[in-house]
Symmetry: C2
Subunit: 194 residues, 2 copies
DNA sequence: CGATTCTTTGAAAACAGTCAATCTGTGTGG
DNA sequence: CCACACAGATTGACTGTTTTCAAAGAATCG
């Protein structure tokens, strides 16, 4: 199945759109394949697109002064990804996006997104709904990070993202949660034994 | 000065609005005073308003199963506050909002907000811009929480919110950062001595 | 002033990080 | 198709940090 057809299915479950509207959305999109380990956004580039992951798995992360990776998000199929700060301010991104698996994505430039949003209010409302959901997810993640132990964080991650945790290496989950791989390894053994 | 006049000043620095538009915004607003320690939103209530803090200081927090408070946000003058999850879903809030200082706020119901947004697109754009800013702030806070030590977190908080840190008790900053009051007390002594 | 809230301190225990080594599974090139 | 390299996971010993519990000192408010 073509990439856009998969996206169409996804979209039609969420918004009612006419064929003409879907054509407009399609005509402004671009397809791209990303190889495993390939960069999609490099540090210092501007994140000027909305990107929908059709297949595969991407991650958004940052490298600190000591060279440590800190993973902000994973984006498997049917998720959107961008560095929202760079997207909005137009400033170079401090973050990196690359592919953990061979991936295929659909891309809209910021300009095209704005144009399509203007033409199709229902699509704009949908996009804004997604944004609110990400906001709430961040809210919950912050609550989790200030109120939970490492073990609870891991359990919570597994429960919230069952589709992700067994596709990414443990040390990346550790990075996402803000603990070392060794700690996560021990914490996890500890409670799988119980 | 009247509450709304203060808000008008704030708003006019950010958006160009006609007098008629400002009148509409004013006519849909309600004023409220909140005493120190008074609840503005109780757990289980629906957060169905947009609230602008004109004077004073509010906080948004949650109490976990063990009875510990976890502070999500502080909101001093010129900040907006609500539980966005409850606001959007219409579900009862798991969070609490109360006043740390005697406060005065301006309130719009969700319905009125939507109505005013519909009438004044520039005001909607302004509101959405604010929302994006909160999102980016959350993003940065998450990065901070997974990549920094307790000391760095505190320094960062002081630097990011110089207007807040000296108005709230240390144990609330500790709660916000996700460390115990004792740890924050020690950490802070440690680096003020250096 | 007395009561309450807030901050600090000490000592012990729990927890997480670091460093180094080993073990496992996967996949690629010869 | 095998061997070897490589990425990932685990473990141990040690160190450092944070929590916990208990108590006391400081500041603030009515």
């Amino acid at each position: 199945m073509q990439l856009f057809e998969i996206f169409r299915k996804y979209l039609q479950e969420k918004v009612e759109l006419t064929d003409a509207q879907l054509d407009l959305i399609r005509s402004t999109s671009k397809e791209r394949k990303i190889a495993k380990r390939e960069f999609y956004l490099r540090e210092g580039e501007i994140s000027g697109h909305n990107t929908f992951v059709v297949k595969g798995l991407l991650r958004l992360y940052r490298i600190d002064e000591d060279g440590n990776e800190h993973i902000m998000r994973f984006a498997p199929e049917n998720w959107w990804i961008s560095d929202r700060e760079s997207y909005n301010t137009g400033e170079p991104s401090k973050f990196i996006i690359d592919a953990l698996e061979k991936s295929e994505v659909l891309i809209w430039t910021k300009e095209d997104s704005e144009f399509v949003y203007g033409e199709i209010p229902a699509f704009r409302a949908f996009g804004e709904g997604l944004f609110v959901e990400s906001f709430i997810a961040y809210h919950n993640r912050i609550y989790n990070s200030i109120s939970s132990t490492a073990e609870e964080k891991y359990k919570n991650f597994v429960k919230t993202y069952p589709d992700i945790f067994n596709r990414v290496p443990l040390h990346m989950v550790a990075s996402y949660l803000g603990v070392t791989r060794e700690t996560l390894s021990r914490v996890r053994r500890h409670f799988t034994l119980k």
